[in-house]
């Protein structure tokens, strides 16, 4: 298989996965209980993504104290201001300041 066709198959595969249930279940009625369960997918995925981005390929946490302080600042500022951009900026400022000081 040439690389071009590899990319095309990977692209079609990604599209099929993304479209699968949206297209297949377009006529199915969802009970409200199922929708309430589906409300948990977002928080679960994002929590898992936070952990995945902090671990290396061996499965060890790669974050030190500086990273945890940064995450705590980010979380507090985001909740306080209810604004992702402000939280992100605050987190990055703390991260770079701590890295240059320590």
């Amino acid at each position: 298989m040439s690389l071009f066709w590899g990319i095309v198959i990977a692209g079609i595969g990604a599209y099929i996965m993304r479209a699968s249930f949206i297209v297949l279940l377009s006529g199915v009625t969802f009970p409200s209980r199922v929708i309430r369960v589906l409300d948990h997918v977002g928080p679960a995925v994002m929590a898992a993504l936070v952990v995945t981005t902090l671990t290396n390929s061996a499965g060890e946490l790669e974050a030190g104290p500086i990273e945890f302080v940064t995450l705590a600042v980010m979380a507090s500022v985001t909740l306080w201001r209810n604004n992702l951009l402000i939280g992100l900026c605050a987190g990055l400022i703390v991260f770079f300041t701590l890295n240059s000081v320590v």
């Binding site: 692209g11 199915v28 994002m46 995945t52 499965g59 992702l84």
Partner: protein, 269 residues
């Protein structure tokens, strides 16, 4: 003094003569076209407030992805893959982690078939997004059910979970504006990464930004107390299974926490 006045008078009379003279029609249309060029404002649906909100929401989500877009370009150049072919994956696949897995493995000399299989495993979490958004897409027109999934990446999914968009037209405009803003930026900056690869440092040192972004999205997506339980459980399980290859731990974590969520919701009802 008299001479000066005399001159002014002459010049004035001269101008009057020009003003009264008939102006060629070509000249009028030229002026009109120039005027329109400077005063033209595009009147597309894109300028709707909901689409503007989507742009504003997407900005803090694209900023953390920007170093990864540039890094992808560097990876393409270093792997020895033809540059245009590497860049085409941004349009054909449109998924950062899947594209990076593909280019890394091909660069290491892995067989393309094995590479594609691994890439598809990394992409598998998008099935969960598809299930979750299926009820939301039911009231939408058919074309949107086929076009929307093309841009259904982590960030777009996260925004649909954070923003309450009860109106279907608002949802569609928001989704398309957010999705294709990210798409255009990703295609542009992965291309720039390839072009600027020789001057881009190997590590930009702000990888933490993507973690911060997901944490922020997580906090804004939580609306019920039971979701805090699910999130903590998912984080713990993801850490437990973090040693598994191809982000399989992530899918296990989400499935385990969905199982617990189902029990919790059934008990509550």
């Amino acid at each position: 003094m008299i001479g000066y006045h005399h001159g002014m008078h002459r010049r004035f009379r001269y101008r009057r003569r020009i003003r009264n003279a008939p102006v060629p029609a070509v000249y009028i249309s030229y002026c009109r076209a120039t005027l329109q060029l400077f005063t033209y404002t595009p009147r597309m649906k894109i300028s709707s407030p909901i689409a503007k909100a989507a742009f504003a929401d997407m900005l803090p989500l694209f900023l953390p992805a920007l170093p990864f877009a540039l890094l992808f370009g560097v990876m393409v150049v270093e792997s020895g893959v033809p540059q245009l072919l590497g860049w085409s994956s941004s349009v054909i696949m449109f998924g950062g982690s899947a594209q990076m897995t593909l280019i890394t493995l091909v660069g290491e000399g892995a067989a393309v078939s094995a590479t594609v299989t691994t890439t598809l495993i990394v992409t598998a979490r998008h099935v969960l997004y598809s299930v979750t958004l299926a009820p939301r897409f039911q009231a939408q027109p058919g074309w949107f059910r086929w076009l929307g999934p093309y841009v259904l990446i982590d960030q777009v999914f996260a925004l649909t979970q954070v923003r309450d968009l009860s109106d279907d037209t608002d949802f569609r405009q928001y989704y398309l504006a957010a999705g294709f803003t990210f798409w255009a930026m990703w295609v542009l900056f992965t291309g720039l990464g390839i072009v600027l690869a020789p001057i881009i440092p190997a590590s930009i040192g702000i990888e933490i930004a993507i973690t911060l972004m997901f944490l922020g999205l997580l906090l804004m997506a939580i609306k019920r107390r039971s979701q805090v339980v699910t999130a903590l459980l998912s984080a713990g399980t993801a850490l437990w299974f973090a040693h598994l290859d191809n982000q399989v731990g992530l899918i296990i974590a989400v499935l385990v926490s969905l199982f617990v969520a189902t029990i919790m919701e059934w008990r509550e009802a």
